[in-house]
């Protein structure tokens, strides 16, 4: 899977900047394909394994970062960085909260475009949803429809329907059993 990086105007550019700095240092990132690598100080046509041995590229500032993303030689990564999925997930969470507003209907809330897009992320969203549930602590939100729709599982006891605290506990336990959560 390849991905083209583009300029972002997101206010979280510093997060993306730091995330890519970490990614360039990680040995897991093993494949780069550059059309015009000199702009990045790397050799063109780098094959598997070579990228990981390259010295990490310093990204000194937001302006430079934007230039890096804007180079004529767009960087194509063989694997979609998980940080992009996470950023997309968080954006959809925020959008869903706005779209849902004060409605009480579970049915209407899950039909909101952002929630549907979140389901559309598929299995990639499962660890993010479980992480979100965990972070919400004693006030878990209604992520259970998405989890059921994506995984097909239903670890919730019948007697716990509607009790989001207990439902979150069941799903987090399911996540641990199935390797999504440590």
């Amino acid at each position: 899977m390849t991905q083209q990086i583009s300029i972002t105007q997101s206010p979280s550019i510093s997060v993306i900047q730091r995330a890519y700095e970490l990614l360039l240092k990680e040995s897991r990132m093993t494949f780069y394909n550059f059309e015009s690598a000199p702009a990045m100080g790397l050799q063109p046509g780098a094959r598997r394994g070579q990228g990981s041995r390259k010295k990490a590229q310093h990204i000194p500032s937001i302006g430079t970062c934007a230039f890096l993303f804007q180079t004529p030689a767009h960087v194509t990564l063989a694997t979609t960085p998980p940080v992009n999925d996470w950023m997309k997930f968080k954006r959809l969470v925020s959008e869903w909260h706005c779209e849902r507003g004060a409605m009480s209907s579970i049915t209407e809330a899950v039909l909101c475009p952002a929630y549907q897009s979140l389901i559309g992320m598929g299995e990639a969203a499962v660890p993010f949803i479980l992480s979100q549930l965990e972070s919400e602590g004693t006030n878990p939100d209604q992520w259970f429809w998405a989890l059921r729709a994506i995984t097909g599982a239903d670890p919730v006891e019948e007697s716990d329907r509607g009790n989001y605290l207990r439902m979150a506990e069941s799903w987090l336990k399911w996540g641990m059993t199935n390797g999504y959560v440590r």
Partner: protein, 158 residues
Amino acid sequence: MFGSWPQHELPNLTADTCEIRSDPTNQYNCIAWAAGENFRNWWPDPLGIGYWPPGVPRQVTTEAFMLAYGALGYTLCFDGALEVGMEKIALYGKGQPGVEVPTHAALQLESGEWTSKLGPFEDIYHATPEAVDGPVYGRVLCYLSRLRPSIGDAGPMV
């Protein structure tokens, strides 16, 4: 900003027309709150995410909601006027007449004030049922009533 809900969704709610009584929480919704519960969400969704009284059709219809509250002893009544010894629920909905979709429920307190849980946001006291009319909840479809439980009986957690 007064309250954490989108103001444009509940335009009649101001500091003069309601009183905030809780923090925002996902633990219960308006349907549960009107039924006297504050630990789970009631909703007849097809996936079984929300709680729904056993034996009541899992349908988002006025009839199903009346049956759900009927399981707690509520029956249809004429209006929302305060009646001593009676506890009332106002059921709200949107849509074409005759095929409205339930959206919200409010519970009348002994004082005559009403209490509502605003989705994932706060629960409030409001003086009239019409205070929560608006784009998100629509309007009152009907009123239900039952004998107000005495102290010690199962009753509202307000």
